[in-house]
């Protein structure tokens, strides 16, 4: 009988390697599962994930751009550059409360690091966002603008920051919802409120001075502004990037504390 590597790995370094390999495999397989199961029954597949933010961009363009006449040039592009990264966050957070609940039988029976369920969900939404970047590029080119070389550094930096921020909030919501089931409704509200508190349909510079500090208290605001600056003007400021990572640190800290405190009880309450 072939002896498996886990039980044979007495040497701590080898055991560590197997542990990380397994964790990585878990994330990859679960992310693939999410992708596959989402597209298995839909003919349009990928188109949906791009069409959704585009549709909202059109609606906001008509309401805020044409009817209320927001004084921002290239408003359609401005909206898209903010909405695409926003949808990654919004989709993940609205689904977050259900992530552990949807895997109840597994959590009750099998011991595995449960947070990988959240990691792979957020990654899956992130991949959809990455796939929508060419669409933004296309619209830039249509408007006679072009992507900048700064994207090469800026996109990875912001991708990591957004992943950490979204993961931090999502793991908090997913864990707490097992104990307080009405969090599900609350988080749908939270996403809507956050949408209007985040400079997506407007620029933070437009806010009156007394509200601006409120905007800066929002952990998501620097992120969306940074994405938009990068997409539209090919610029990123280290100050904003720093702010993104600071809020990533904050949400991760909260998320980790909540998760480590509550995860030993998951199997009991689910």
């Amino acid at each position: 009988m072939q002896v498996s590597s886990i039980s044979v790995a007495h040497d701590p370094k080898a055991a560590q390697e197997v542990y990380w390999e397994h964790l990585w495999d878990l994330v990859v397989i679960l992310t693939q599962k999410e992708m596959k199961s989402r597209y298995k029954n839909s003919a349009l597949g990928y188109v949906w994930s791009v069409a959704n933010p585009l549709l909202f961009a059109v609606i906001y363009y008509i309401v805020f751009g044409q009817i209320m006449k927001v004084p921002i040039e290239n408003y359609a592009l401005f909206l898209m550059a903010g909405l695409m990264p926003w949808h990654w966050l919004a989709n993940s957070l609205s689904a977050a409360p259900n992530i552990f609940l949807a895997n109840a039988t597994l959590i009750k029976k099998v011991r595995f690091p449960r947070h990988v369920l959240v990691v792979s969900y957020v990654l899956n939404e992130g991949i959809h966002f990455v796939l929508s970047i060419p669409v933004i590029m296309g619209f830039l080119l249509l408007n006679g603008m072009s992507p900048s070389w700064n994207w090469l550094a800026g996109i990875p930096l912001l991708l990591v920051a957004e992943f950490l921020i979204v993961y931090g909030i999502a793991v908090t919501l997913a864990s707490l919802n097992l104990f307080f089931r009405d969090l599900e409704r609350l988080s749908a509200l939270l996403v809507t409120v956050l949408f209007f508190l985040t400079p997506i349909t407007y620029a933070s510079a437009m806010a009156p001075a007394q509200y601006r500090s409120l905007l800066y208290a929002n952990p998501v605001a620097p992120l969306i502004e940074s994405w938009r600056e990068l997409f539209l003007h090919g610029q990123f400021s280290w100050l904003w990037i720093g702010a993104c990572y600071l809020s990533a640190l904050g949400t991760l800290l909260v998320g980790s504390v909540v998760y480590w405190r509550m995860s030993p009880k998951f199997a009991e309450v689910i």
């Binding site: 039980s7 599962k33 596959k36 039988t105 011991r111 104990f179 089931r181 009405d182 199997a267």
Partner: protein, 256 residues
Amino acid sequence: MTAICFEHVSKWYPRYQSLSYGIKSSLLHLPQTLRSLKRERIRVLEDVSFQITKGEIVGLIGPNGAGKSTTLALMAGVVEAEAGQVMVGSRVSPLLELGAGFHFDLTGAENILLHGVLLGLTRREVVSKMKAIIAFSELEGAIDQPLRTYSSGMIARLGFSIACHLEPEILLIDEILSVGDLAFQLKCNAKIDEFKRQQVTMVLVSHSMPHVQRLCDRVIWLEKGRIIAEGNPAEILKEYDKATQLRHAVDRSSAA
């Protein structure tokens, strides 16, 4: 060598229901909520001690709510004991109930990969065993079809086949051996005998007494979270049967 050791293990669950009334009422009545969490605890296991040696097959029997599944959950490491110590040797793999942990939109082969990795193997290990798993399950023809097209017997075969190829050192079996057609059941029994020869420790929860009698070396009888008796299957099962009949008779006469 001891594979599993429980020392004065107690497990109780708070009544989390008081929390699921919602955030609003838990916060408005915070003191009451906290007090109820402390006071209203349900004891599931109380001062349970036993040892299981490597290679032994132990059956857990008892009426519903006796704490059998909680005992398995403690062994699997998905819940923690409030008091006492649980020591579990090495690689534990639970045999999941029908379809748990499977994804119905994925194909059989994709599910093998997903399931194997969830149960603790690396991707490389699962891939190297893929052929053997498919062959054992006898599902070669359907393995690239989505799981939702499978019958429940086919799903059970897939699940058992994966569990068998995880090379577990401790196998936890919760009431699922009576699945599949007769031919597959015989195959399962043969596999279990093979495990037995390979010194795999098995803990089995079952309400099927013939099953317990045939497979187990020892039986632990749990009731209301305590061990009532443990020992030789034939003797314990006889006692258990007598107690159940008696209770049934008492229930009937008090109902009349």
